[in-house]
Amino acid sequence: MTEISIRAGGAAGDGIASVGDVLSKSLSRMGLHVFGYNAYQSVIRGGHVWFQARASRERVHSQGDGCDLLYALNAETVRIHLPSLRRGGVLVYDPENFAVAESDLPVGTRALPVPTLALARKYTSQPILQNAAGLGAVSFLAGIPLDLLQKTLSDSFGSKKGDVAEWNIATAAAGFAHAEAHAGASDRAVRAVGAPKYLMAGNQAIALGAAAAGCKFLAQYPMTPASSIMHWMAGHAADIGVVVKQAEDELAAINMAIGASFGGVRAMTATSGGGFALMVEALGMAGMAEVPLVVVESQRSGPSTGLPTKTEQGDLNMMLGAGQGEFPRAILAPTHPADAYRAMIRAFRLAESWQTPVLVASDLHLSESFATVDPEEIDLAVDIPSLFTVPAPNGQEYLRYRYTESGVSPRALPGQPGLNYVAGSDEHDEKGHLISDVKSGVPMWVAERVKMMDKRMRKLRGLTADSEGPVREGPAAAPLTFVAWGSTVGAVRDAMRLLADQNQPTNLVYLPTVYPIHAEALGALLAPATRTLLIEANFSGQLGRLIRAETGIHFPNRLLKYDGEPFYPMEIVARAREVLHGQ
């Protein structure tokens, strides 16, 4: 096999996420490309959780469709996932947990009963150890060598090795041996192909990218699916010299980040839609006071509390419009973890160069899914220029908000003598003095307001020139052009490959920077398109609306999804076929 998908399911608390981690990491250590998708619910115990690890010699961009191996910890998993088991697939389960009728198995699949509980009982009565036996059996079928599995298992215990780690390693061997003895040769197995790859969740890549970009301060309030950005950063804070502050709420988080940025360090916050809604007023303050700021908005299903553990791209409208009045901003939309790493570096550069907030639009599917990253895709040697943009004072009056052609004014940092100024959320003149109270409405200051507003908004031109324009992938001419953004691009890429395998060429236009829109470049890329298909994980096609507003280009064909699930390549293929056949 050149590709394999392994699915594991059970109840929350069964340890499914750990099973997924070990499988994904073992496969990435074989040099395979891996995509790991973790589906869970907003509960700590009970409910149904499942993980899919998809690995291939080729790059994989999504969780894919269906699975080749299904490891079921409970009967519910069998009921939900057995129909996804592909021809040739194997169900691994313990008859002590539940029974499986031969007649329930899809045609061309088989079941491998493994006494996982009994194998675990040799060491402990804790049922969680059965997972190690299950992992062993699945690894045998998948072609993961036992020593590699054991090494990965051992590493997963970190420094807290001891009896439990030893039990896991031994039980995994027992499960592996059982499968070897009872399953015969596996025709599902994959083979190692090269040097190990990095395996990263989107949020890990986001945190790593921020630190590489010189971020030294992160303030955040816990909210799924953004929390693990804070977890990674907090876990490494002392080592890499980043201050991580869990704030009392999102209002505090963004205001702390703005204060820290004003005070002299690169600073960021991260949240999901609900928290971002609370940050809106301060976002405008960063725009007004011209303080560099990076905000990661990892979207989940809304509105309101919505589906807290499910994905969506429903917050684009909010990100575009967040804040009263108008101020320059950029919104970046990375498509996979390595892309997210680079997007964070770009975000900090843009925020600092243009002294304004930059949003990085992630979503649950990008933030929490794992994907392999080639070592050469991560370069930690990021050049970090000084935050200062003014020389020492030489007798001339320092104007913090001096009118400039670019809109960017020299920025001093508190502590530097002779450059004292007040940054403010009120409208102000070049010195930073208020023109919002005793001067407002006086003709001379009315003109000043217009000049200051124009100065700030001029930065949009620079932000456009300085940010990544739209990208086309695939052949220049194709009968169908997909249009997408963010994590959705992954499933589109996989769908394009499936279509290409069926001799159906397609191409893709996506936007690494969803705002500001690079209208001319986008127009040029879309001009040759004969048919387009807009793919977004929201109800109304928010990117489509934005592109239409900015370019006049309309996308009549759409595949919009707001069920909380990520896109599956096959549903994109199916919709593409409809559009190609004029439906």
Partner: protein
Amino acid sequence: MASSLPAPTPSAGPPLKVIVGKSDTKPTWCPGCGDFGVVAAVEMAVKKLAIPSANVVIVSGIGCSSNLPHFLSSYGFHGIHGRAMPVAEGVRWANHGLTVIATGGDGDGFGIGAGHFVHAMRRNVDLVYVVMDNQIYGLTTGQASPTSMMGQKTKSTPAGVIENPIEPMALALASGATYVARGFSGDVKHMAELIANGIAHKGFAFVDALSPCVTYNKINTFDFFRQRVYKLETSGHDPKDIGAAWQKALEWGDRIPIGLFYTAERPTYEELDGVLANGPLALQPAGLKGREKLLQEFL
């Protein structure tokens, strides 16, 4: 790679001065406003400690009193309503070589910003928060504030306030502030001393500044306070005695105590944070150049 931000040094640059009413900075406060006393007290306190103006950052929210940063020659950040605390904390953590003074009103600090006020105190961040407490919303033309007294008639409470006022001193004690004081705009020197000691204090210093609104609060006037305030320093109060501090914190009537209610020694947030303990963050290197070992965890 280190940032080129200079370490704050005691001798750098000119001293702090009040600039309101001078050059082109016109006052936005009514003649006779209590806040003039507070801005004078801040200047006096910073000068007394000989901190150069470039090393001072005054952070405020929104309201009449929150215009204060514009009236001094230091660095300043005039933020949005209720959020002076988190901005001040952010500035302080970015560079704790700087002296950070947050200023604002009772609506800003005890109303919309009450949550931040409580959390900043429990963190014992080393900064000073001066709340110009006039028991009324002035800039929005006279609505009830969180410290307006029961029964007070305002534009928003024509039948009188029916909510108990926040007791700032008690709230500060309950939240773990390590320096809790109250001053009165009618005694600038005393207030300046409280602020100076608050700056010198290691940890969160809260100064409730009774600062009458001469336009919208006709009850809590200068005369009202002159007849009632007395100094704790001359009344045998022991500011290290938390029990006594609680008693004084709840005293509000014919007699109103001013001075230092409570002070305690506790490690500051900056001392306890593993990264900040290494020195001001802005002076520490940034980025991950040469830190390839970090990537091992992803293999």
